[in-house]
């Protein structure tokens, strides 16, 4: 006869031991990483932080409202950077998405891996890093920002779009093929109409993210609001920093609202 435990427990002792061991490992790893990370931290700066924060806070208010006049052109630049970057990104991403999708890739063995690699490489590098590289190559300015946004967008749009293409209804493709349509006709009449709503949704979504990102690309010299932010921080003009942040926040909230409305209307 087995002896039953006198009270109910969720897990067997062995599993509980394993879970405890897992937690122990996590804590040990955390402590080890913490030691490594803070090895060169200057703690007097850290303890000093509340006074620094209070100091910066007191300098930041009130925001310099009149500075907004100087921000209109950078704001326009930022919006252009995001929009033109998105357009360029879409133009580059659409063929890549069609090459990457299993059902539309012309030579799946060759084109799929190449297209997937482009998508992954573009996705794993943040647009700020792209901008850093492009500013070094092309010089500071809007063009570097537009290209950075476009390069980062390729991965995002490409990935979502190729997934949408792979999820298309095969029966419609078969119906069009049965009429004797050529390959390009199958694309335009069977696949494109099915992915079009997803395409516009993805594009608007990416545009919204790009507005967010383009507002800070200026930090590395790619133009737009970030340039003013960088200049104001370097000269310790904190009231201007507050004003710029208000403008960025308002733009981001507005673009998010627009994108949500558009996506709601489409999907």
């Amino acid at each position: 006869m087995t002896d039953f435990p006198d009270h109910w427990q969720h897990r067997t002792p062995r599993v509980r031991l394993a879970i405890w061991f897992g937690w122990l490992c996590l804590v040990a790893l955390f402590v080890w990483c913490w030691e490594l990370m803070t090895a060169r931290t200057i703690w007097s700066f850290v303890w000093d932080a509340p006074t620094q924060a209070a100091d910066i806070g007191s300098r930041m208010f009130p925001p310099r409202w009149t500075y907004v006049e100087n921000l209109l052109v950078p704001l326009w630049d930022t919006l252009n950077m995001a929009t033109l970057g998105t357009i360029l990104g879409v133009i580059l991403a659409v063929p890549i998405a069609f090459l990457a999708a299993r059902n539309t890739s012309p030579f799946p063995l060759v084109t799929r891996p190449v297209a997937l690699f482009i998508i992954v490489a573009s996705r794993s590098i943040n647009s700020l890093i792209w901008a850093l590289l492009l500013v070094a190559v092309l010089g500071p300015g809007l063009l570097a920002g537009i290209l950075a946004i476009a390069l980062r967008s390729i991965g995002f749009i490409g990935k979502l779009l190729y997934e949408a293409i792979e999820e298309t209804d095969i029966r419609q493709v078969e119906a069009i093929t049965a009429t004797g349509a050529s390959g390009s006709q199958v694309l335009t009449y069977a696949i494109v109409p099915q992915v079009l709503p997803a395409f516009w949704g993805i594009t608007v979504f990416r545009w919204d993210i790009n507005i967010r990102e383009s507002s800070i690309l200026g930090l590395v010299g790619a133009g737009g609001l970030g340039l003013n932010l960088q200049a104001s921080i370097s000269t310790l003009a904190w009231p201007q920093v507050t004003m710029i942040m208000i403008v960025i926040l308002a733009t981001v909230v507005l673009s998010e609202w627009v994108s949500a409305k558009v996506r709601q209307a489409i999907i």
Binding site: A49, L132, V137, L143
Partner: protein, 266 residues
């Protein structure tokens, strides 16, 4: 008798009204003309940069891992440790906030407080947060750590709160009807339901935090981003290429292993 068209035309899909379509097309065209008009491109500078661009491509194809390996390894260790500690601390903080932001188990005022914390954390970009933390806490990975914690809180609490709001109410009801206290309710009704998702989200956030840690170094918050920034400032494109390849590789490993682990856990 109406005359039927002899050829079929594909009906428009999204904007069915012809006038809307034309207005939108004209609007887009006008915008493009204006936007491209204000874009002033310095072609001479770009021509100068072409040579540098080629050197960069060459550096990317022949990455130099060895000559700056000490800097690169310091940056990598900073990035990786920053990522792990920030994720652990971020998860630890966002669990109570996430519970507080779930409408079905908390009083209204707690809900409002927690939701506003989430809103603040989500609306500020990590780079801007990093700038402030660097100004307050000095240069180095500690500022980066705080930035990542800040970002993690907004992300995880929001998703956790939504998860808790979506739980199967009947299980909570059953536990409540045994006379369980609020803590017991969390422990026996909520936790088992959301735990797999929470682990999955934490792993996903680990992945995101590593990507972010590569970026916030640009404004001085430590990590591999700082090393990359230095390499580009020194025009050492072969080292920069090596760093970028390491970032791409690590992001790939993180992405695939985190998605594999998430599939395995769910």
């Amino acid at each position: 008798m109406t005359s039927y068209p002899t050829t079929w035309r594909r009906p428009p899909q999204i904007f069915t009204d012809r006038r809307w379509r034309i207005a939108l097309q004209i609007g887009a065209l006008v915008y493009l003309v204006f936007a491209l008009g204000t874009l002033d491109v310095n072609w001479a500078r770009i021509a100068d940069g072409a040579e540098r661009g080629l050197r960069f491509v060459a550096g990317f194809l022949q990455p130099d891992f060895t000559s700056r390996w000490r800097d690169i390894s310091i940056g990598l260790v900073e990035s990786l440790t920053m990522t792990l500690t920030a994720t652990v601390v971020g998860v630890a903080i966002s669990v109570p906030i996430g519970i507080g932001a779930a409408r079905n188990i908390t009083p209204r005022w707690v809900y409002m407080v927690c939701r506003s914390i989430i809103a603040v954390s989500r609306s500020l970009q990590e780079i801007i947060v990093a700038i402030f933390f660097v100004a307050m806490f000095g240069f180095g990975p500690f500022a980066g750590f705080l930035t990542l914690v800040f970002g993690t809180i907004g992300f995880l609490s929001k998703l956790l709160a939504e998860d808790i709001e979506d739980i199967d109410e009947s299980q909570a009801e059953a536990v409540r009807s045994t006379g369980a206290s609020w803590l017991q309710l969390i422990n026996y009704a909520i936790q088992p339901q959301v735990m797999p998702r929470l682990i999955g989200l934490s792993l996903y956030r680990l992945d995101i935090n590593f990507r972010e840690s590569a970026v916030i170094g640009i404004v001085g918050a430590g990590g591999i981003g700082a090393t990359l920034n230095t390499a580009i400032d020194r025009y050492e494109y072969d080292s920069a290429g090596a760093i970028l390849l390491i970032i791409i590789g690590l992001v790939l490993v993180a992405e695939y292993s985190s998605s594999y682990l998430r599939k395995f856990l769910q």
